[in-house]
């Protein structure tokens, strides 16, 4: 198993009556609720926590991209990843965004990801989400029915930019570029591994299978509800005769809270979980799926946006409901281990995105949970899939790291350049 400590960077100061007084946490959220001065501490705390997770031994630390959103104040994951690349070493950097349909031209993404790969010494794991309808359509104005086509073109351009050694012309529908010739280019060859977050679109399954990308389901509703969707993915892998069923072809995000005992977990984390489900996921249903964003084929499979709230809404779910139904995996290290093993086996998932920071959780509690997880849970789950222990197709391949903060000697620099060739 590969463990990524994944942070959404929620705004922790949404008021108690947020749900009642605000239509949506996303798109048209009241900007007055954001306090730039307080955000200085919030951002730096979140950066500290990511760095702490790296120290604790997580395989990677992960960031993502959202816009106009109270639960994700990270419109540019590249900025965060750049900060992290300097203050960490050895740990993988999962940047599960850029939403490539949003950038004109998307060579900017090819360039910035290349920079991140170079600065971090080949530690980048790149993510290309199509993006939620809220971000892609409602905030960034992409036409719903053309989003996927634009995404595909952006992908083709980025891969070509990464893998072609001579300047080339790219005559796309959305990108007309006479000279593509990115400088720098990534360390990892032919390019950094790619993870694609998805919400059940058949087209995304196929895209991952065709390109040997890992399919990640970033769910907030937990592993039990995810079963049908992930079964759909694996069924597709079988139908398409993929060469293997490596669990590293898939990733899954799960909210996890660890304490000494199950009872302590409830006591410590209940309010933060409640904050997340009742404030951070308060999305106006009209923003959940712009018509045309989701393909007909996908709607027919019954996969609808997870942002369309469940019947009755999250507010009715108690701690018991949330944990028993698997939305949240919480409890003692042993409880968490058991449930995560069940998750890994039932979903057949090798890349786990651990949502260890939840809602308005303060730094100390998050560090406590993170440390317990790293020390008492992670080691016992490392080898859930021994048959695929050597499968490194979906993971980064760092070069030997320079010491942060010190310029390499000329000799060392020559070695580094040599290793990248």
């Amino acid at each position: 198993m590969k463990f990524t400590w994944f942070n959404l960077m929620p705004w922790p100061y949404l008021p108690d009556d947020f749900r009642e007084k605000n239509r949506s946490v996303w798109v048209d959220i009241d900007q007055r609720l954001f306090d730039p001065v307080k955000s200085h501490e919030v951002y730096n705390t979140y950066l500290d926590l990511l760095e702490y997770a790296a120290e604790c031994g997580f395989d990677a630390i992960g960031v993502n991209e959202h816009h106009q959103n109270g639960y994700g104040i990270m419109p540019s994951p590249n900025i965060i990843a750049a900060a992290l690349s300097r203050r960490t070493k050895d740990v993988g950097l999962v940047v599960l965004g850029n939403s490539i349909a949003l950038y004109n031209p998307p060579v900017r993404v090819a360039e910035e990801f290349a920079m991140l790969d170079c600065i971090s010494g080949g530690r980048l794991i790149a993510g290309f989400p199509v993006g939620t309808s809220m971000d892609t359509n409602f905030c960034y104005g992409q036409i719903p029915a053309l989003t996927r086509e634009k995404y595909q073109e952006a992908h083709d351009l980025i891969i070509k930019a990464w893998t072609t050694r001579d300047p080339f012309a790219f005559n796309g529908r959305y990108n007309k570029l006479r000279h593509v010739n990115i400088w720098p280019r990534p360390i990892q060859q032919p390019h950094p591994p790619i993870h694609i977050p998805g919400g059940g679109s058949v087209e995304t399954y196929d895209f991952c299978i065709d390109n040997t990308y890992s399919y990640s389901y970033l769910s907030f509703s937990g592993y039990i509800r995810a079963k049908a969707l992930m079964d759909g993915y694996w069924k597709r892998v079988a139908e398409r005769n993929a060469p293997d069923t490596s669990p590293y072809r898939a990733g899954f995000a799960q909210t996890i809270c660890v304490a000494d005992t199950d009872a302590e977990a409830e006591k410590l984390y209940k309010e933060h979980v409640d904050y997340f489900y009742n404030r951070c996921l308060h999305v106006y249903p009209g923003f959940a799926d712009a018509p045309g964003y989701r393909t007909i084929k996908t709607i027919q499979t019954g996969a609808l946006s997870q942002y369309a709230p469940p019947v009755g809404g999250y507010s009715k779910l108690t701690w018991k409901d949330l944990t028993e139904q698997g939305h949240v995996i919480a409890g003692s290290p042993e409880t968490v281990r058991q449930r995560l093993e069940e998750l890994a086996r039932t979903l057949h998932v090798g890349n786990l995105f651990c949502l260890m920071h939840v809602g308005n959780m303060p730094r100390e509690k998050c560090m406590y949970s993170t440390k317990l997880f790293a020390e008492k849970v992670m080691p016992k789950l490392r080898n859930v899939f021994p048959d695929y222990a050597d499968d490194d197709r979906f993971w980064c391949h760092p070069i030997s790291q320079v010491k942060p903060g010190s310029l390499p000697t000329e000799k060392k620099a020559m070695e580094t350049v040599g290793a990248a060739r």
Binding site: V27, N137, F138, G141, I143, P144, A145, L146, E149, R173, Y284, P285, G286, F287, A290, P291, G292, Y293, R294, T295, I296, I299, Q300, G302, L304
Partner: protein
């Protein structure tokens, strides 16, 4: 005479269209909600005109068309349909999104359209009067935007709908995704594709029809069109909303009659 649903081949895609009635030839371009054989307005229109109402690709049971991506594609496609139907200089009428398309057609081929009816057309934008976001509007919120008489409008819109049935809901969502997905190519996120700077090219005799209490495209937009199209005439209809075609069918048809 009842309307019939027929098919005509065009270069990109077979097109479904409604046809019926007799009289002068009139082409009607529907709004984002589409058009049905049972459409009250079209059936009344067919009592006076020989009506052709083509469905945009993706609407009703018509095929979608990946090649149609932007305003120019939609405009030229609509001319392809007229050509495929072998119509010469029909009265061209469009409602809402259809009005936007009709105005573009008249601007791009000013010598081929001599009579133009625009019923609360989309296509212009004013920052001081932003049009509600149709694509983020929940179905239950629509009647308020579309009708003067919200209660009667709700009944009209929800007749025969059983959204609690999951199977029906899926069909509804698929239809919505196909239709509004297509409409989004020219209306999302802001229904403005440069028409304002082309309106001066329109030479047709033009009648603008607007419901006084249109909340989707407020009547303030009528003035933009009136100013942009030389010699155009505005007929505003009291106690009618955006679906003025349904709420005041006879008055709309009477207004279009000024083009005869």
């Amino acid at each position: 005479m009842a309307l019939e649903l027929k098919t005509v081949a065009t270069p990109h895609v077979p097109v479904r269209y409604l046809e019926g009635g007799s009289g002068q030839t009139l082409v009607f371009l529907h709004g984002a909600g589409g058009a049905l054989v049972s459409d009250i307005f079209l059936n009344k229109l067919a009592e006076k005109y020989h009506v052709y109402a083509p469905l945009l690709p993706g609407y009703g049971d018509s095929e979608e068309c990946g090649e149609i991506r932007d305003m120019l594609d939609v405009t030229l496609h609509s001319w392809d349909v007229i050509e495929a139907l072998r119509l010469k200089n029909p009265i061209l009428v469009g409602h809402s999104m259809g009005g936007m398309i009709a105005a573009e057609m008249a601007a791009i081929a000013p010598h081929d359209v001599t009579r133009l009816g625009l019923i609360c057309p989309a296509g212009l934008w004013r920052d001081d009067h932003p049009i509600p976001d149709l694509f983020a509007t929940m179905p239950f919120e629509m009647p308020r935007l579309l009708f003067h008489d919200v209660e009667a409008g709700t009944k009209l819109l929800t007749a025969g709908l059983t959204l609690s049935d999951p199977k029906f809901l899926q069909t509804y969502l698929v239809t919505n995704a196909r239709q509004l997905g297509m409409a989004g190519k020219i209306l999302f996120p802001i229904p403005e594709r440069g028409l304002g700077q082309r309106l001066y090219r329109i030479r047709a005799k033009t009648i603008l029809v607007w419901g006084d209490s249109d909340k989707l495209i407020p009547p303030v937009y009528a003035h933009g069109f009136k100013k942009g199209i030389a010699g155009s005439e505005l007929v505003s209809i009291p106690e009618a909303g955006h679906m003025v075609t349904l709420e005041k069918s006879d008055q709309v048809i009477q207004a279009i009659g000024r083009l005869d």
